[in-house]
Symmetry: C2
Subunit: 338 residues, 2 copies
């Protein structure tokens, strides 16, 4: 089969690789219908995380089940399935409390930019749709497997509630999906921080009520202006840099909440500053599995259309161009067709 391998920063290739096999009775093999490039894939691509030995890439996927291990119930060959970047048995103590992304048997996916993928913990990870969805729904279902699930978690971690004021820091695919989530959860005011016209436009289409293009002290001042002088109830931090975290923490009012879903890189927090801010903080890899049934329903019913974040569609063979376009911010997110 054809599969994506990173060799070094900036060096992404599609190569021949052996098809994956069932290794454990809880595994499944899927044939990918669509996969994509994630903002977090850019960390090693940009050399901001070590690459190490050449290795496969990709953790977002929808596909058709090809084969299941002997202990996999609930999904069967031929079904269209949506999964998550973090696999989960859906039975351990953390899963039972709804924190499947901290499953005690969690394995992170990392080989999905390929024609076939082995899914560990398949029974607890994959959710099948009743029928094969039409092609126009595939991008949104793919988005649900990561960026929409992550934006949803950001909004819940930031405790967005009906009538809330919400700020979204970051105009990547996750941030834009965070706008959708804030809207769906009833936020009355949704301020998207963005300096890119096409992303501003999509944010407004997804439900943003205000756009703030300033950053740093000016950005914080604008947020205060827009939120009665005290800051927002909820802030969704969707980047993961020291600057974006600072922006987020200073955009929330005392008693407000920051949900942070950008994997933090070189972010440290001062305990006393956090203390006096009285801002609540929760981050982490999104427990996407908890949200899958609900989010798939919202997509299939046409209520949300997060697939719009894919503004570039490429054959898998051109994955390198997908990375490049996202790195150069020419594309929000690249969908790959195997």
């Amino acid at each position: 089969m054809r599969a994506t391998v990173i060799h070094a920063p900036g060096d992404i290739r599609v190569e021949d690789a052996p098809e994956p096999k069932i290794l454990k009775p809880t595994d499944a093999i899927i044939r990918t219908v669509a996969t994509c490039v994630c903002g977090s894939d850019l960390w090693p691509y940009r050399g901001l995380e070590p690459v190490g030995d050449p290795h496969p890439m990709g953790h977002e996927y929808v596909g058709i089940v090809e084969e299941v291990g002997s202990e996999v119930a609930g999904v069967k060959p031929g079904q269209f399935v949506v999964g998550s970047f973090a696999t989960s048995d859906n039975t351990c103590a953390n899963c039972q409390k709804g924190w499947q992304s901290s499953c005690l048997n969690r394995e992170f996916m990392g080989t999905c930019q390929a024609e076939y993928v082995r899914i560990p913990n398949a029974h607890g990870t994959l959710v099948a749709t009743d029928e094969h969805p039409s092609g126009d729904l595939v991008p949104s279902l793919l988005a649900v497997s990561d960026v929409m699930g992550t934006g949803w978690y950001a909004a819940l971690a930031a405790e967005v509630r009906p009538g809330s004021t919400a700020v979204v820091v970051g105009d990547g695919a996750v941030g834009l999906c965070g706008v959708i989530a804030a809207k769906e959860l009833g936020a009355e005011q949704i301020i998207a921080m963005s300096r890119h016209e096409s992303r501003q436009k999509l944010a407004l289409e997804f439900g943003a009520t205000d756009i703030v293009s300033e950053r740093g002290a000016d950005g914080i001042a604008r947020i205060k202006d827009l939120t009665g002088g005290i800051g927002a109830d909820s802030v969704l931090e969707c980047v993961g840099t020291p600057e974006s975290m600072r922006q987020a923490l200073h955009s929330a009012r005392p008693g407000g909440n920051v949900g942070f879903v950008g994997v933090p890189h070189e972010v440290t927090l001062d305990g006393q500053e956090l203390f006096f801010s009285q801002v609540g903080l929760r981050g982490g890899p999104a427990p996407v599995r908890r949200y899958l049934p609900d989010l798939i329903d919202r997509v299939l019913s046409g209520r949300i259309n997060p697939g719009k974040v894919f503004d570039l569609t490429l054959p898998l063979e051109q994955v390198a161009e997908g990375y490049k376009a996202m790195d150069e911010r020419r594309a929000i997110k690249a969908l790959l067709k195997p």
Copy 2:
């Protein structure tokens, strides 16, 4: 009048001082019925915070209103009142959302270990009881003005709910009041971390179901053992050191919450570690004013008795001995009678 002044680490004196006067129309003057020494007073006493010029001390108080400014309604001379260490107008945008300890007109108290005290923002800060309480209720009402209100906030920030498992890190007066709060809010399992027999005993009396005397990695392992292997739903951090914060964060399960109320000293948090823990975190000076009516009711009805944390009662003249006894951990908390 007689008032407490800190001159240098370890050097606490009672001196003659002018009686306070109304400075603003929103001020009140109270005659203290009881005041006390706080764990946070020990930071400068121990030289862990700079003392600077000699200055008054104390921020916990109950008393009788002597005089009110022209704009103070709601409380009047002769009433018994309970206040908070952070004054609040109770009308600003933060106060209206219940975050009075971040009142836009907040002034922190700092002159309360004295016979008379000026209370800024008196109308929004002080809550009067219907009648003068009997003397045996005074310690608990005094506790409500800080340590009980702070323990209550810790439990709410840690999202203690009926059926929760809760861990309390710190066996000072705030931690012990945190046990009361966790019990009142319905926690099913309350694990108090303490190595001191008298404090363990009081924790059990207040509702703790388990005592853990280990610290560090052993302490964390014990907590995991007691909480089904994953950690507690709620952790109340009531100390403020790097060690206690680490203990708290590692005692909470993914999706659990840490409420931190010990003012952090030299505490920094690693963003990525916090991210992958999926622990929610909220700290700050407790919005005691929000809780005062409820907590006063619970004291007057005999439902809670946080005044038991005062295991040493001294005349104001002997305040230095109160600091010394707390510093040496001979006393949990010293009540002072002016």
